[in-house]
């Protein structure tokens, strides 16, 4: 009882003292990625920069890991082999050895890119290194931004940012819907290609068939489920990472000192889990797409033998 009281008192003291000594203003939370510059008319957003940066990090790690390979791995090579073996073991345990090795490149790429961009989004510098931009220059670039920023931002910061806009130079790649949609489309389209190559006409008959009214209806449902995959892939990753960033911003705003630390641990965990889920769902969907669909007499005979 006494300890609980002490913790409450210390926490309250931290909130009060921290807010007086080191006040942090809650930045504007925008859904859309901010445009940092437009070289050649291309709107270069901060999430694009972060995405390329994490791609470079992955490329560098695995380039270093695969040059000058030794029989007994050391250092980066050891790390790269550990990661590759972890994902390969996952693929082979879910899809079997042959198909697992076929699916491995895409699954591993998704896993590595997502986990790298998620974890790099937690580095200091992300969201804190800002470029200042006058609103006149930013206005034509992002027409929807003032409208989106106004309800999300606090009333206190609105007049202050009206003159000079601070735009973070880096922002975790997965906090942009475009990034996650691109990965989701890659995953779902690759699933269709893999399924078509493995099953041919049987794969199409999963969705469109005239074996009977119920089978036809189930096929339509399967078709909708394929489209729903894109939505859930996209928003699962986006929602988790974006919510994490908002959570960290709000915690730092509420308690500037120390309180954000356990939440960084949580975000590290969430970043790993989301990368893992994205990769393993891709793997499972691909496995399902390449597994022959039992239908007609086969399925009934199969069920009959069970019961």
């Amino acid at each position: 009882m006494g300890r609980t009281l002490l913790i409450v008192v210390v926490a309250l003291a931290l909130i009060v003292v921290g807010r007086i000594v080191a006040p942090v203003k809650l930045g504007t939370i925008t859904l859309a990625a901010e445009v940092v510059g437009r070289p050649g008319g291309f709107p270069l957003t901060n999430t694009i920069i972060a995405g390329w940066l994490s791609t470079l990090v992955v490329l560098f790690l695995f380039w270093r890991g695969t040059t000058g390979q030794q029989l007994v791995p050391r250092g980066i090579q050891n790390f790269a082999e550990y990661v590759a073996e972890f994902v390969l073991g996952l693929c082979e345990s879910v899809a079997g050895v042959q198909r697992g090795r076929q699916f491995f490149p895409l699954v591993a790429t998704i896993f590595l890119f997502v986990i790298t961009s998620n974890w790099m989004g937690l580095l200091p510098g992300y969201n804190s290194i800002v470029v200042r931009e006058s609103p006149a220059a930013a206005e034509p670039a992002t027409p929807a931004k003032p409208e989106a920023a106004k309800p999300a931002g606090t009333a206190a910061t609105a007049p202050a940012t009206a003159e000079v806009e601070e735009i973070p130079l880096f922002r975790a790649a997965s906090t942009d819907l475009n990034t996650t949609l691109a990965i989701a489309l890659t995953s779902v389209i690759a699933t269709q290609i893999v399924g078509l190559r493995a099953l041919g006409g049987n794969y199409i008959s999963k969705f469109i068939n005239f074996r009977g009214p119920i089978d036809f209806y189930v096929g339509i449902l399967e078709l909708i489920a394929e489209l729903a995959k894109i939505i859930s892939f996209t928003f699962r990753l986006f929602g988790n990472v974006f919510a994490g960033e908002v959570l960290l911003a709000v915690i730092v705003f509420l308690i500037p000192w120390g309180a954000a630390l356990p939440f960084y641990g949580l975000e590290l965990f969430v970043g790993f889990i989301q990368a893992f889920v994205f990769a393993i769902l891709t793997l499972v969907f691909m496995t399902l797409a390449t597994t022959a669909h039992e239908h007609g007499d086969d399925a009934h005979a199969h069920q009959a033998s069970h019961h």
């Binding site: 859904l31 345990s93 879910v94 309800p151 939505i231 859930s232 928003f235 929602g239 393993i280």
Partner: protein, 76 residues
């Protein structure tokens, strides 16, 4: 109530109510997985993989609610 106020309330209700079902579902999944682990600790890798997969499917329902909430707030 103003138009913007109603929209905020609608967005909050959409994600708040939409999170109840998946929350219960994930809780039940976790409870059953713990139970399975208690009965058969050697099955830990299989249980963990399937648990994460099942949670991802339960979570998808909450994601649809999130999409609706975001549409209400930013698009509609």
């Amino acid at each position: 109530m103003t138009d913007a106020g109603v929209r905020l309330l609608a967005a909050a209700l959409a994600i708040g109510l939409g999170a109840i079902g998946p929350g219960l579902g994930i809780g039940m999944l976790g409870a059953k997985a713990m139970e399975a682990l208690g009965r058969n600790p050697e099955a830990e890798p299989a249980v963990r993989g399937n648990l994460i997969l099942a949670i991802a499917f339960a979570e998808a329902i909450a994601i649809y609610a999130l999409v609706v909430a975001l549409i209400i707030k930013f698009v509609a």
